[in-house]
Amino acid sequence: MSETYLEQVLDGEAIWTDIEDFVGAWHDGNGLGQELHDYLGMTWNEYALWVERPDALRAIIASHELEEPLEELLERSDDKAVAARGLTQEDAKAVREWLRQTGRLPG
């Protein structure tokens, strides 16, 4: 693979959930001489975060795409944040309330 995991994901050439395949390829000898985080296209800190918190992978990818600091994205990624797309404010409010009432969103 000539491009890193992150480059391929951001170019639509790889599905982001396939990261374990890239890790497996590195263990099989791909990316000779490269450290794994470089092979994946991550900084060491990003890689360390992913190992510790696999849920953070989307935020790591998004920070590369959106060119926003990872720390800021992680702070924004709390359970209460719901982006309404194409809905009126009234409808969005009604849906959020319904999600809370049904226990799908924290109160």
């Binding site: 994901v9 951001l10 170019d11 639509g12 050439e13 790889a14 599905i15 982001w16 959930t17 849920d55 953070a56 992978l57 989307r58 935020a59 990818i61 998004a62 795409e65 959106l66 994205l73 924004r76 990624s77 709390d78 359970d79 944040a81 719901v82 982006a83 309404a84 797309r85 194409g86 809905l87 009126t88 009234e90 409808d91 969005a92 009604a94 849906v95 959020r96 309330e97 319904w98 999600l99 799908r104 969103l105």
Partner: protein
């Protein structure tokens, strides 16, 4: 049926992700989108308040897997599309946010936006998943692109709405096709295939009355079909039409035009102005045609006609309705072809 090279390079990245999935899972329409989604998310179908078609929760964690909720009040093709759309938010990881509430019927959201907006990307992901380009290209290669109705009929297999079917064909067909989806005489959505200038025949826009007389009159083909609860019309402005009897008239195009102008305009200055306008329209169409290579008169004629499918304020309607107007177009095409 020959399999054309799959032009993956023409796909946008969100479509490439969907295409990867199609390729990996060896999918063919009708795509079992529920089965595909089960690999990545949990799915529940129930009434959702308001106009919300679907939503996805837990993208950034907090759940074992993201949860997609779908409003069960939608028609089946729309539920399928909404599920594919929500799956797009899941599989396009730069769609940052823990949850998205979506109203996917806003088809305008297919269009590129100046602002970064995840919704058009999720829509295009969904469209590519449900009607894969690789499959659609084979369909067009097999059925041809001259007539659109057979392609629309074949797309019924994909179990998508008229919106999605037309928008996918808009991407797959060559320049020279225009469509309107209407209900009760009102345009719901319209569009045309790629290309500018020569083929840029713009249809009436969303919300306008469905005025079609001029499009009908100057199109090479007109195709009407019912699709779900909507009516779909496609006009084709490409193809060939040999002159029928034009050769029997020995006059030049200029002579034909002079007689027509005399018939419709009393003022010599006005005649001169309209003549210049007509010359400009034909000149522009011919210029674009020749840039694409030499064309036979029968093809030039179809292209010239298409230029009058849009209202041109400087050219009286009575002139374009004159029985000799077609003769003039034929003769001009023969002289230039």
């Amino acid at each position: 049926m020959a399999t054309p090279d799959w032009p993956a390079s023409r796909l946008r990245r969100e479509e490439r992700v969907a295409a990867k999935l199609v390729q990996r899972l060896n999918l063919e329409p009708p795509i079992d989108v529920g089965k595909v989604a089960q690999q990545f998310v949990d799915v529940e179908l129930e009434p959702i308040p308001g106009e919300c078609d679907g939503l996805v929760l837990g993208l950034q964690g907090g759940r074992a897997r993201p949860l997609v909720l779908l409003d069960n009040g939608q028609a089946k093709p729309r539920i399928r599309f909404t599920l594919a759309h929500e799956l797009g938010h899941v599989l396009l990881p730069w769609h940052f946010g823990n949850s998205f509430l979506c109203e996917t019927s806003r088809v305008r959201l297919f269009e590129a936006s100046a602002d970064y907006n995840f919704e058009p990307e999720a829509n295009r992901f969904a469209a590519e998943l449900l009607v894969p380009s690789s499959w659609l290209d084979r369909l067009v290669a097999g059925l041809g692109s001259d007539r659109v109705a057979p392609l629309m009929d074949a797309l019924r297999l994909a179990d998508v709405s008229a919106y999605v079917a037309c928008l996918r064909l808009r991407e797959a067909l060559p320049a020279g096709h225009t469509f309107v989806i209407s209900r009760g005489g009102t345009v719901l959505i319209s569009g045309r295939t790629q290309g500018r200038g020569l083929y840029a025949v713009n249809p009436p826009e969303t919300g306008e009355n469905f005025e079609r007389e001029r499009l009908d009159r100057f199109a090479h083909h007109v195709e009407d079909l019912d699709y779900g609860s909507t009516h779909v019309t496609w006009w084709t402005f490409r193809g060939e039409q040999p002159p029928a009897g034009a050769g029997a008239d020995s006059r030049s195009s200029r002579q034909v035009l002079d007689v027509m102008l005399e018939r419709h305009l009393d003022d010599a200055g006005e005649r001169s102005r309209v003549r210049a306008s007509l010359g400009g329209v034909i000149g522009a169409a011919y210029g674009e045609a020749t840039r694409q290579g030499p064309l036979a008169p029968a093809e030039l004629y179809v292209r010239f006609r298409g230029r009058f499918a849009v209202h041109r304020p400087g050219i009286p309607n009575s002139l374009t309705r004159d029985p000799d107007f077609e003769l003039w177009l034929h003769k001009r095409a023969e002289e230039l072809g």
